[in-house]
Amino acid sequence: MVKKKHALALFPLALCFSSAPILAATTADLEKRLQDQEKKILRLENQLRGTRSAVKENRGRIADMNERLKINGFLSAGVATNDGDPVVDSIYGIGDDYTTKAINKLGIQMTFQVSDKISATAQLVSKGIKDYQVEAEWAYLTYDATDDLRFNFGRQRIPYYLLSEYLDVGYALPWVLPPIEMYNIPISATDGVSAIYDFAIGDFNFAWQTYAGAGGGYSEQLEAEFTQNQSWGTNLTATTGSWTFRIGYASSNLNADPDQGGAGGQLIDALNTGIETLGPQLGVPAGASWLGKTDNISSNYYSAGFMYDDGNLLVMGELSNLNVDDTVQPVGDAGYLTVGYRFGKWMPYVSYAKFQTDSKNDKQIRQTQEYADALGAAAYAQAIGLNGAVINPTLATLGIVAPGTPGAIVVSSQACTQVTGCSGSLLAQMSLRDTLLGAASGYSETLHNTLEQQIQEQQSYSIGLTYDVSSRVKAKAQVTHFEGFGSGNYQQLSATPLSSVATQYSGFVSQSIDGSGRFTGEPGSVDNHTAIYSFSIDAVF
């Protein structure tokens, strides 16, 4: 028992001694097995690699197609109205009825990567304000000459403003509607070429863009089609941290084609009639040589803007000047400042904007008015002279008026046709007198006052709220109060009816009336202020 015990006690020791060669054998075996395993793993790995690369290749093909053609879109839907005033904003057509056309738009953009360096892009936009007609706002080929320099060939948005190129993308704008004081140039696209060069200096990243091309557009205010020849421009954008700065210049040669009978058409027709026939007949000296000019009008546009956006605080502002040579257009100085602050999904914002017509353009309008007034005054003087010297004395012989009736008392030809002895030559004189009186009111009243309305100013205060419905949808509401329309001197040919056939004329009287800024409507109709309420849902996809 004891021995056994001993033996048992010794067993682990014996095992210990005897196990040395066994362990050695096991290690060699294990190493061999591991080597085999390793070979197997290697084989499997190779197999897996093959499968993986096949999967990758397939995936690559799909990704390639997916990446070659990119489709993006944007959408805005909403409603706007003013506070019941009898004026219509001339940019978006917002009046006292609820309108959805001012805001609704849909855009689809397709970009196809033709090769490493060449891509084709088309952006089709359907806008309410253009009666939902689908237009290609952008359609161009891009050639990436280097990583930093690229050229676009084709139709492009004219980069007038800080935000002009994505003005249709409501989602990317802080407002429901951009400030109409600034964002109102009727020509938005140009067909041509642009070059964009990116470079960096220190912490600043720069993008320098230059374009040249031809384009066109329609001005609702002047009811005229404009074509732009030899238009070119350049702008420099600098970004650093949360800041963006931009300066720009654009130049073009304009040809205007006013609608027959439209605001601009009537104005040009009247001026040309004055210059070609009425002026020489009345002995009115010719006005400025450019009066009535519609072709080869040169325009210059200067702008500067900045944006600060640190994720919470948004501050942005722009200033611009547009001036046009040798014509009467309501263009000029514009600017705005917008401040917003994000509280999570909400961003309230306030905005101030101002516009006033350029002093050079004001001067051109005044020069045109002077010519119109000279024509009107000459026509009036001739009409009253003819009436006093020839018509009234003849009418006195017929017993229609008392002898010595002054020229300013005008009796209608109707009174003459009612009596016997009214001669054809008298009727012809009266008809000439009436034509001259018509010309007097046409030039010194209608034309003068239409021109007066082209000298414009206004300012506006907006308050709005943006809400992130989802990461791709925003809802916005905005109220804008417009005021500071200034006043103008409006002329009227003063005529007091004496009887059913006689009228007492007392020349032109002028009266100061409040304007309506860049809104179309009768002067004084809005008591120098109005407001626009707007709401929109904006999405990108």
Binding site: L30, E31, L34, Q35, E38, K56, A63, E67, K70, N72, F74, G107, Q109, T111, T121, Q123, W138, Y140, T142, D147, N152, Q156, R157, E165, Y166, D168, V169, Y171, A172, I196, A200, N205, A207, T239, G311, K345, D468, S471, R472, K474, V540
Partner: protein, 143 residues
């Protein structure tokens, strides 16, 4: 020799798995191990993902992004790029619709980002640190 290497490798992987399971919510910015880029400032990484630059220290890099809805994406854009999804969409729509840029290529998962980075020495991506594998290099850990 071979055995010890194998054991070290196994232990390393196990240790990694444990470490990863402990700190799983960490997002890291990765490049290919062969890339000369050793580390990056968050601003530089953000600028690459916003298309504002295409290199770090002169070494050209192309971003590969993750699709919306990915957990790593949410952390990355919040902490590194510092833009919420709305701000990011507004940013890209300004560039997309003006032909001035396009967002980085998107893939569906951390593993696919790793694949893309392994495939190309000039690719930069972000993943959950648990998805880090051999062949990729962490150049920034999102704090």
């Amino acid at each position: 020799m071979k055995l010890t290497r194998k054991i070290v490798r196994l232990l390393g992987a196990a240790g990694f798995a444990i470490a990863a399971s402990v700190a799983s919510a960490e997002v890291v910015v990765i490049v290919n191990s062969a890339s000369p880029v050793a580390s990056a400032a968050p601003d530089d990484v953000a600028q690459i993902f916003l298309g504002k630059r295409n290199d770090i220290g002169g070494n050209s890099l192309v971003a590969v992004d993750q699709a919306e809805g990915s957990a790593s994406r949410a952390v990355f854009y919040d902490k590194v790029v510092q833009k919420n999804p709305s701000q990011l969409n507004a940013y890209w729509s300004r560039l997309i619709f003006t032909g001035k840029g396009a967002p980085p290529r998107q893939v569906g998962s951390d593993a696919e980002v790793v694949d893309a980075v392994l495939e190309d020495e000039e690719t930069i991506g972000y993943i959950d640190s648990a998805a880090v594998t051999e062949g990729v290099k962490v150049i920034y850990t999102v704090k």
